[in-house]
């Protein structure tokens, strides 16, 4: 008997107009991991970060460590006691693919770890490991531009669920 598959699309948001933020709410709790793939651009030139908060938490409960390469050198850095994660880049063109892995997002025992691949294809690639110091299950993901710029129409955000064997 074939086994059931996973990597299930939960929700997709394709922006039909320039938009300030995107929220995935009421995320089902019956998966093991979440994968969020974003193909975005900013409606305003200048570039900035795609930021992320979960469960509407605006406290200083976020942190991250990253490694990046810019075509000539590699570097590493971190942010501590942050009010958000910074998993993605933003620029005025669609050159900022962002992939986020939310591990064991629905357990209520551990702090939540998320790994993101943050890129601007014209000048850098990077990987971030992100921590949210809360044992709450993640039920909402909120995405926005760090400078308040709008996401450009045509930006896409797709959320998948991966369910482990029981």
């Amino acid at each position: 008997m074939p086994l059931p598959s996973t990597y299930t699309p939960i929700a997709t948001n394709t922006l039909s107009s320039n938009t300030a933020s995107v929220t995935f709410s009421n995320i089902p709790q019956n998966y093991t991991d979440l994968v969020l793939i974003c193909s975005t651009a900013s409606a305003t030139a200048g570039g900035n970060e795609l930021n992320c908060q979960v469960n509407s938490d605006t406290g200083s409960n976020y942190s991250f460590t990253y490694i990046l390469g810019n075509g000539s050198s590699a570097a590493s850095g971190r942010g501590s006691n942050q009010t958000r994660w910074a998993p993605g880049e933003q620029s005025a063109s669609f050159e900022n693919p962002t992939l986020m892995y939310f591990f064991n997002y629905s357990n209520t025992t551990t702090y939540k770890t998320m790994i993101s691949r943050r890129n601007t294809v014209s000048n850098l690639t990077s990987a971030f490991v992100n921590l949210w110091r809360s044992t709450s299950a993640i039920n909402t993901i909120y995405l926005y531009n760090a400078s308040g710029y709008l996401f450009l129409s045509g930006s896409t955000f797709t959320l998948y669920g991966i369910k482990a064997a029981s």
């Binding site: 008997m1 996973t6 942190s63 006691n81 591990f103 990987a127 482990a164």
Partner: protein, 196 residues
């Protein structure tokens, strides 16, 4: 069995047999969650050879104290010989570094937060074992692993090689110090190729 996916065929309205059901490409095979006593290793055994690739996704933590972090070792088919090698690129929040290990008795498959660091924080990991059942190739792995503890952390990429053409039937993950802590949890998935 509950039908979980009727993707392509249902769109075509041409379902004619149970084998017309599109079951997708990623299949959950097994999950190991560590209990209150901890575990020296996490092992997947009797892995079927019917997929093209394998992926392990999980969270982990070591009981090693007072260390903040230890390595993760990966072995295939319980081979403890010096038949493995690794290359890696890591960042620790201050600098990036790269290195290699040859003729090892394991593949380095990341770093795991340990008991000397923030409680309740766990590493996240994605490990791919490519073409694992092919008996004409040495086996290669790739790993994306990271942990952060609000002021410390490691993120990196690791690639590994097992110089053996046997099909992979067993995968062992073990911390280089201590045991896997309670709530560490790793899930194994099979990834199908076309026609599988």
């Amino acid at each position: 069995m509950a039908v979980s996916s009727l993707k392509n065929k249902s769109k075509l309205s041409t379902l004619t047999s149970p084998f017309d059901i599109d079951l997708g490409g990623m299949i959950p095979l097994s999950t190991v969650t560590v209990g209150s006593g901890g575990a020296a290793n996490v092992e997947f055994t009797s892995i079927p050879a019917t997929y093209t690739h394998l992926q392990i996704r999980g969270i982990g933590r070591s009981t090693q104290s007072p260390d903040a972090s230890v390595n993760v070792y990966l072995r295939l088919n319980s081979d403890t010989g010096s038949n493995y090698s690794t290359h890696y690129l890591t960042g620790n929040g201050s600098s990036a570094s790269a290195g290699a290990a040859t003729t090892s008795t394991f593949i380095y498959a990341g770093a795991v937060i340990a008991a000397g660091s923030t409680a309740s924080a766990f590493e996240g990991s994605v490990i791919d074992i490519l073409d694992y059942a092919n008996t004409n190739k040495y086996k290669t792995t790739r790993t994306l692993v990271g942990w952060d503890a609000n002021g410390s952390g490691i993120i990196g990429l690791w690639s590994g090689n097992w110089r053996n053409t046997n099909a992979t039937t067993t995968i062992t993950l073990l911390p280089s110090g201590g045991n896997w802590a309670q709530y560490s949890s790793f899930a194994l998935y099979g990834i199908k190729g076309a026609g599988a």
